[in-house]
Amino acid sequence: MPTTSRLEQCFAALKQQDRPALVSYLTAGDPDPETSHRLIHGLPAAGVDIIELGMPFSDPMADGPAIQKAALRALNNGQTQAKTLEMVRRFREDNTTTPIVLMGYYNPIFCYGVERFLADAAKAGIDGLIVVDLPPEHDEELCQPAARHGIDFIRLATPTTDAKRLPRVLGNASGFIYYVSVAGVTGGNAPTPERLENAVGELRAKTDLPIAVGFGIRTAEQAAIIGRYSDGVVVGSALVDCIEHAANPDDAVERVHGLVRELAASLYTCRTLCEVVD
C-alpha cells in the first residue's frame, strides 16, 4: 500500500497554510539524556515542524564550536547511536506526526553497521538522514540502502555546488533539499540576503522537492526573511547555545523552547506580514 511519508505530509500541510517549516537542530543527548528527551519532546508544542536530531560525533568537521561542544557534552554523558535511536522510539510513543531527521557523520553509522542501523532507525520512527560527509559519489554506501528501508536521504546543496554538479546532487535526493546558505561551518557567518534568495530560486527551477535553508540563521528576523521564499528554515547553533548558557536543565528547556516559540511566531506570519508591508 503506497503511503505518503511524514515529511511529505508535513510539507503538504504547510503549503496549505502558506508558511515555511521551522526545522530545529539539537544534538541527541545534549546536555544529558533526560534533559535531551524533555527538550525534544516539547519541540512540536513550541512550534517546531521538523526535528533534526544530531548524532554526536567526536570529530564534527563541518560544525562550528557550538555544535562541536554539544557533541562533546552528549558523548561525555554517555550518548551512543543506540541511545539516540531509543530516544526517537520514546518520542514516537506519543507523537506519530512530527518528522524526525537524523543528522551527523558517517562513521558512527558505518561502525553500527549500515543495514542494522537502517533497520533499527526505520523501526524507531526515523524519517530521514542528513549525513554531511557522504556526497553523491558515495551513494551506494548509505543513500541507496536507506531508500530500500523507506528512509529519505536529504541532500545538502551549497554555494559551491555549480550548475554542472547540481543534477548529480539532486539525483538520489528525497524528502527535501537542505540548502547550505554560506560556505563554512554551522553557526558561522550570516548569509547575504539577495544572493541567498537567488540561489534558492535557481535551485527551485531544478527540483520539485521542498527547499529548507540552514547555516548561520540565529534570529526570528533572519528566519522571517528567508521563510518568505524557502519551504523551511533550519536553526541549530542558536538553540544549542541556549543549552550551553543555561544555568541548569530546567533553564535549558525554558531557553530552547522560548527561542523556538519566538522563531515559530515569526515564521507563522512572515509571508502574510510581508504582503502587508509590500
Partner: protein, 418 residues
Amino acid sequence: MNKPIDLSHLAAPKATSLPDINGMFGSFGGRFVAETLMPLILELQEEYTAAKSDPEFQRQLAYFQGDYIGRPSPLYFAERLTEHLGGASVYFKREELNHTGAHKINNCIGQVLLAKQMGKKRIIAETGAGMHGVATATVAARFGLPCVIYMGETDIERQQTNVFRMKLLGAEIIPVTSGTGTLKDAMNEALRDWVTNVDDTFYIIGTVAGPHPYPAMVRDFQAVIGHETRTQMLEKHGRLPDSLIACVGGGSNALGLFYPFIDDADVQMIGVEAGGKGVKSGLHAASLNGGTPGVLHGNRTYLLQNEDGQITDAHSISAGLDYPGIGPEHAWLHEQKRVDYVSATDDEALEAFQLCCRQEGIIPALETAHALAEVAKRAPALPREHLMVINLSGRGDKDMMSVAQHLGEKFGVKPTSP
C-alpha cells in the same frame, strides 16, 4: 671487473593502478567530505592529473627538488650500525638532509606549485610535530603566499622550536584547543577553514590521507624517495634492496619509499607504527595493529575508535605519529599483506634514537627512531648480504626538549662539578 649487466628492467618500476577513479584502494580511501568541498577536490584532481603530464610542471618540480630541497638525498651505508647489530647491511636514505630537515618538503613543493598554477592566494595546513608546518611555511615564504598553520595546543607545548621556526618564516600559527588538541583536531580545524574560505585557499595536506586525490598526490610527490633509492641501490650493488623499513603515522615517508617497489615481490616492506606504551595498553597510535576500519577526514581507513565509531586519542612520544588514523593505501597494503606493519614502543624508540646518535653521529627524529627500533630488532638475524634500507625521514633537533625530559636531563641547569 664484472661485465655490466643490463639493469634496465629494474630501473623503472611498473605502474601500479590504484587508486581507481573514485579514489578507492580496494574498500579504503574515497571522498567522504561535505558537499561544499566536493567541487574543490574535483577541481584539484583535474589540475593534478594535468600537472602529472605537463612537462613544464615537471620541469619546475625537478628544479626545486634539486636546487631548493637539495635532492637527491644520499643513500648512506650505516657501517658502524651494521657492525654493531652484526647482521644485515643497513642503509639510510638520508631524507633528514633535505631542506627543513625531513621528507615533508618533497610534498609541500609539489602542492605549492599546484596552488600557484591554480591561482590560489592563501595556504593552510595542519601540523603535528611541526615538520609539515615548517615545510609548508617554508614553501609559502618562498612563493610569497600568506600561510596559516593549525596546530594542536598539546603539540605546540612539546614542539616549541618548530613553532618559532614557523613564525620566523612568516606563518600564522593558530592553536587548536578543540578535542584533544593534537594532530587530528588540527586537521578538523584546517578542514573548517578550507570550507569557509573556498575561493582563494589551498589546503596542503601533509600526509597520504584525506579525500582523494590527496592520498595519491602526496604519495606521488614523496615517491621521489623510492625512485632515488632504486637508482642508488642499483648503482651500488647492481640489484634491488631486500627490505625497506619506515615509520608510519599518516604514512607519507613510508609510502614514498615503498611505492616504487610495490610490484617487486622480492622486496620486503615493513611499516612501523607508534606503539606508545604498548599496543595492549591502549595507549598507542598503531591504527593498523590496534584499530578498526572507519571513516574520518575524507577517507575510509583503519582508525583508533571505540565500538560506537567515536575517535579515540592516539598516544605516542612522537608528535608526528600521534594520529588516530593512517593513509588509506596503507590500510589496503595491510589487508593485501604486501607490507608487514609492526609497532615500536616509546621506550624502544628512545633506545634506538640514542643508538643512532652514538653509532652513526646522526640525531634522528623521534618518528624515525621507531623505524630504527625495528632495524635493531631485525638486522641481527639477517646475513650481511641482506640489503636493508631505512628511510631516515627526519632529523631530531626538534625533539631535543622531549628527549631530554624523557631521559631526565634538565636544560638551563649547570652540570655540577664533581
